[in-house]
């Protein structure tokens, strides 16, 4: 602790001393640390002994001189200065723009600050951002009238290691939904919950369209944090004072609803750039966005709640402004999940693409999620109410427009207006169309159905303008971030289009961004949801004839290393230790490929032993089509003279088989997996299978039937993230019960 204090002191001292020369120096010491947010002690990363990282404060025109000392035992690290215009080599994306900082090394960043506003900085290595490496980066204007201000950075905490979170997401594990259902009934969206809510038809249609439970966010979090605390006090403010809040969403995956108990929220800047002040009742802040928000404390001796609620509404975090009795903000009521599911059903075509029903959605104005918000569309109720009959009379055009449906004013991008003209220089436009694509089942996130590693850099010329037309054809919203540039959002404000560097784009929206090609080098454009980025949702813009980057002398090797990020291989395994045998599977998979092994091992020769191994590649956009090649081995002792035939009349070789097979799996409506294959002995097999039908929040039903006249059906009850109780009937092995372990 003493050491930490000393380092902090040193950092502050050096910052102060250097200010006179307009070079502001910070020393940042990255260390491994242990934290305890929930009663369990976990590993995390601290900088100068703190989570989040210290707030770095500058004045426009200063030169930032930042030394990053990597004192981690093993890991590399990096720091990216989010939203800053700076030379490419200091952008801090390891292997793309900047050398990684190896354990024990010190790295120097030195760049002039050519802008002002609220920014932030974070690690761009692995999952470090989520486990502590995020902090505020505030640049004051040179002549700034004095004003009360407060900086807060929002984040989330999970006791599960982020690497495991990522792995589970790729395995379509629904453990996160089960955890959410402990806080909110109905979150698993199982059949039992659907029946209780009067939405059985909705659930059936949803699965018919090959969707699993819908959600507004993928991960369950144990805590949400403001400046590293679930609740934090700022008693220094008095009644009547207006406070400028610098609000930064430093979370890895969470969007937050912001509300204030004392006054409206007056938005004065976004992503560091000023906007014409706009008062609202509430707003959502996307992952990686920043906003300056002015609030006024109406009275003395009262602490007013600034409430940030996670988009999934499981939990929230609060800042109390003022000193005294605590004035609560109105909490957000739980989402009406089945209303959301019904809405998704309407929008989803059977081929897996989305249909906006001619609404031309853009700029967060039509929020389909309003159907789930009780405060906008009324408390959860079944169809047939007067209000819903009324809703039918509304034109499609404002049916989902939050601000016409209620008297609560919610911020959207169309309301942002720059105070000055933001027109681009006269230059030819390069126009690019990006379709944001992906699927939840395998957690594949792409642009134009390609990951970063499946594409080349996009070359742009210095001096030209770039227009990006984004269409979100995936089921999740994405906060798209461009490094090293500001883009203007074409939002109907004409020459006064607002400037941002993060754009939240909701499903089915089309948004147009424009930026001037003024820089040099390689710049990352990616979804800022950490797990989407790591799954490959991005592109790299590269300026033609860039000056060589001294940080990365071996360009090709660095590029290959950079591309490794989305090529990660995810492992899962599961085994049912049952009274009638062992039943299990293991999988290794990446974006397109899957290696899968299944086994059924009886306890005696009569029950038999069998295993199948498949290696295949998902070839279509929705990843429903999976051709594979496999190897099949089985042995089972049969009665003397016993002979089984399959339904095609071919003699079965269950007693002794070792054959190579070729097959094709296809996910049918209602998530039935059809599997047809032929082996080198000419034997055909057709199989239908459905895994993990969510009967209730923790009960799963599985079944399988095939043309070898084999069948299996069973239940599994999830008791915790690794363990389930299970029972099943197998045509070869009979009834059994046991426990299933999964990883």
């Amino acid at each position: 602790m003493k050491k930490v204090c000393y380092l902090l002191y040193a950092a502050l001292l050096s910052a102060a001393a250097a200010h006179a020369q307009k070079t502001v120096r910070y020393d940042l010491y990255v260390t491994d640390t242990m934290v305890n947010y929930t009663g369990k002690t976990k590993m995390a990363y601290a900088v100068n002994g703190h989570i989040p990282m210290p707030t770095l404060t500058f004045t426009e025109g200063d030169t930032a001189l930042i030394y990053v000392h990597n004192q981690l035992k093993h890991d590399e690290t990096s720091l990216h200065w989010h939203g800053l215009i700076l030379p490419n080599r200091y952008d801090g994306v390891p292997y793309l723009t900047t050398a990684p900082i190896k354990a024990g090394e010190t790295h120097e960043y030195r760049f002039p600050l050519v802008q002002s506003g609220t920014y932030w900085y974070h690690s761009h290595t692995g999952h470090q951002q989520q486990n502590g490496m995020h902090g505020a980066f505030i640049i004051h204007k040179r002549q700034q009238p004095p004003m009360k201000e407060y900086t807060l950075i929002l984040s989330e905490w999970t006791d599960m290691h982020p690497g495991n979170v990522h792995r589970r997401l790729h395995n379509a594990d629904d453990w996160f939904a089960i955890q959410k259902s402990k806080l909110q009934k109905g979150a698993t969206q199982s059949y039992a919950e659907a029946i209780r809510a009067g939405h059985l038809g909705t659930k059936v249609t949803n699965e018919w369209k090959r969707m699993t439970a819908m959600d507004v966010s993928d991960v369950y979090y144990d805590r949400f944090l403001t400046n590293g605390q679930p609740e934090i006090q700022a008693p220094q403010f008095k009644g009547g004072e207006t406070v400028k809040l610098h609000v930064i969403n430093g979370s890895a995956t969470t969007y937050f609803w912001l509300q204030f108990a004392g006054s409206k929220l007056t938005v004065t800047a976004s992503d560091g750039m000023d906007v014409t002040p706009v008062p609202v009742d509430r707003m959502i802040i996307g992952t990686a966005e920043t906003f300056d928000i002015e609030v006024t404390l109406p009275a003395d001796s009262t602490a007013y709640e600034f409430l940030a609620t996670a988009e999934d509404r499981t939990r929230s975090t609060s800042l109390w402004l003022g000193n005294g009795i605590k004035q609560l903000a109105l909490p957000l009521q739980p989402l009406k999940y089945f209303e959301g599911m019904k809405m998704m059903n309407d929008m989803m075509k059977l081929n897996g693409t989305l249909n906006d029903m001619g609404m031309n959605m853009s700029l967060q104005q039509m929020d389909m999620n309003v159907v789930m918000y009780p405060e906008i569309t009324g408390p959860g109720n079944k169809s047939g109410s007067a209000a819903q009959a009324h809703a039918g009379k509304h034109t499609t055009n404002n049916r989902y427009n939050s601000n016409t449906l209620s008297n609560i004013v919610t911020l959207n991008y169309a309301m942002l207006r720059a105070p000055q003209k933001t027109t681009l220089p006269q230059a030819p436009f390069k126009e690019l169309r990006f379709e944001l694509t992906g699927n939840m089942n395998r957690y594949t996130w792409t642009i134009n159905n390609k990951t970063v590693s499946e594409t080349d850099k996009i070359m742009i010329k210095k001096g030209e303008n770039v227009r990006l037309i984004l269409y979100n054809n995936s089921m999740m919203r994405h906060p798209m971030h461009l490094h090293g540039h500001f883009f203007r959002i074409v939002n109907g404000q004409g020459d006064y289009a607002p400037l941002k560097n993060v754009l939240d784009i909701m499903p089915m929206e089309t948004d147009t961004l424009e930026f001037a090609g003024t820089e040099d080098g390689d710049w990352f454009f990616h979804c800022h949801i950490l797990y989407h980025m790591m799954s490959g949702m991005g592109r790299v813009f590269s300026y033609e004839n860039s000056t060589p980057n001294p940080e990365l002398p071996d360009t090709l090797k660095a590029w290959k290393q950079f591309l490794k990020e989305d090529k990660g291989i995810h492992f899962m395994a599961q085994n049912d230790f049952a009274s009638n045998g062992n039943d299990g599977e293991a999988m290794l998979q990446n974006t397109r490929w899957k290696l899968q092994a299944e086994w059924r091992l009886g306890y005696n020769d009569m029950h038999g032993y069998e295993s199948e191994v498949h290696l295949g590649r998902y070839i279509d956009r929705m990843q429903w089509l999976f051709p594979y090649i496999g190897f099949d081995w089985r042995y089972r002792k049969m009665e003397e003279g016993e002979m089984e035939k399959n339904i095609f009349g071919q003699a079965n070789t269950k007693d002794q088989r070792a054959a190579v097979c070729f097959g094709l799996q296809y996910t049918l409506p209602w998530l039935l997996v059809a599997d047809g294959r032929i082996d080198t002995d000419g034997k055909l097999r057709m199989q239908l299978m459905r895994e993990d039908i969510p009967v209730s929040s923790r009960l799963r039903f599985n079944f399988m039937v095939n043309s070898d006249k084999e069948y299996m059906a069973g239940f599994r009850y999830v008791t915790n993230k690794f363990l389930s109780l299970s029972t099943h009937y197998d045509s070869d092995m009979g009834w059994g019960a046991g426990i299933t372990l999964n990883y």
Binding site: A261, K326, L328
Partner: protein
């Protein structure tokens, strides 16, 4: 004997465990009015399975018991405030307070009045109370101004689906109706006023006496229908909009100060449904 004692101690032990373990107790002021507020306050505390409360309507003190290893007094008091009842540590959200039944709308002595130092530009407060307050505007010239003000407050309460607030404002309306100086009205308006006054008073008192939002809205449709000819006959000293909802009771109208539609018949469920049919100068 020993065995009996032992058995007894087990019995006592299990009886105690049915209650709250590691119990801590505090007596806290929880604002409320009468016996009718008691169940809500105690249920709010008991949302937390490790806590309970017993509220005394005579002195407004709640005895709160909680398991000190599982939860905190603050957490229990927060739940009570979220149910609408101000207490030592927390003030209820304004919207929740507004939804309390009229009999439980205690005087909020714990809540500090807003300072009025011109900072009100952005401070029209939370969502539910963000509608403009007609009373604040200078419209005192016309003899009907207090009636229109009170009427608009009833309307705003219905827009916000706040039944008890609507009842309170309707009571004010009754008073305002009685206080109108008829002599100050022009002849034509005076005649219409004589015709409508009794109906208006009757309906306003009816709204003041009802707690059901739905029934209040039915009455409000009638109230609007009777007030319309009065303002039509000689104005109200300010511009008003006559607005129409095609759905409610096969069509209902209301008067508003704003052109933007804020439907008092459905509130948040269908706020902007309806249209302006007439502008009354």
């Amino acid at each position: 004997m020993k065995a009996i004692l032992f058995a007894l101690s087990i019995a006592l032990g299990s009886a105690a465990s049915a209650q709250i373990k590691h119990a801590a107790t505090a007596t806290v002021l929880v604002h409320g009015n009468n016996e009718q507020c008691k169940p809500t306050i105690e249920a709010a505390a008991a949302q937390n399975q490790y806590a309970s409360a017993s509220w005394n309507s005579a002195n407004h003190l709640a005895v709160i018991t909680w398991d000190s290893t599982r939860t905190t007094l603050s957490a229990v008091l927060k739940n009570i405030a979220l149910a609408g009842y101000d207490n030592d540590q927390y003030l209820a959200p304004d919207a929740v307070y507004a939804q309390l039944p009229a009999c439980c709308q205690y005087t909020r002595t714990a809540k500090k009045a807003p300072l009025t130092n011109g900072a009100s530009a952005h401070t029209s407060a939370t969502a539910s109370s963000s509608s403009h307050s007609p009373a604040a505007e200078n419209t005192a010239a016309h003899a009907l101004a207090p009636v229109i003000n009170a009427y608009l407050l009833v309307k705003d309460a219905l827009v916000n689906s706040a039944a008890s607030e609507a009842a309170t404002q309707a009571k004010q309306l009754t008073a305002a109706l009685a206080a109108v100086d008829m002599k100050a009205l022009a002849h034509e308006q005076h005649m219409v006023w004589m015709k409508e006054k009794n109906s208006l008073t009757e309906i306003a008192s009816a709204i003041a006496a009802i707690n059901s939002l739905e029934k209040q809205r039915v009455q409000f449709a009638a109230l609007s229908a009777h007030l319309y000819p009065v303002v039509k006959a000689g104005g109200a000293g300010r511009q008003l909009y006559y607005q129409h909802c095609p759905m409610f009771e096969e069509g209902a109208d209301w008067l508003s100060q704003e052109k933007t539609v804020r439907n008092p018949y459905y509130g948040n469920q269908m706020l902007t449904c309806g249209k302006t049919t007439e502008t009354i100068p």
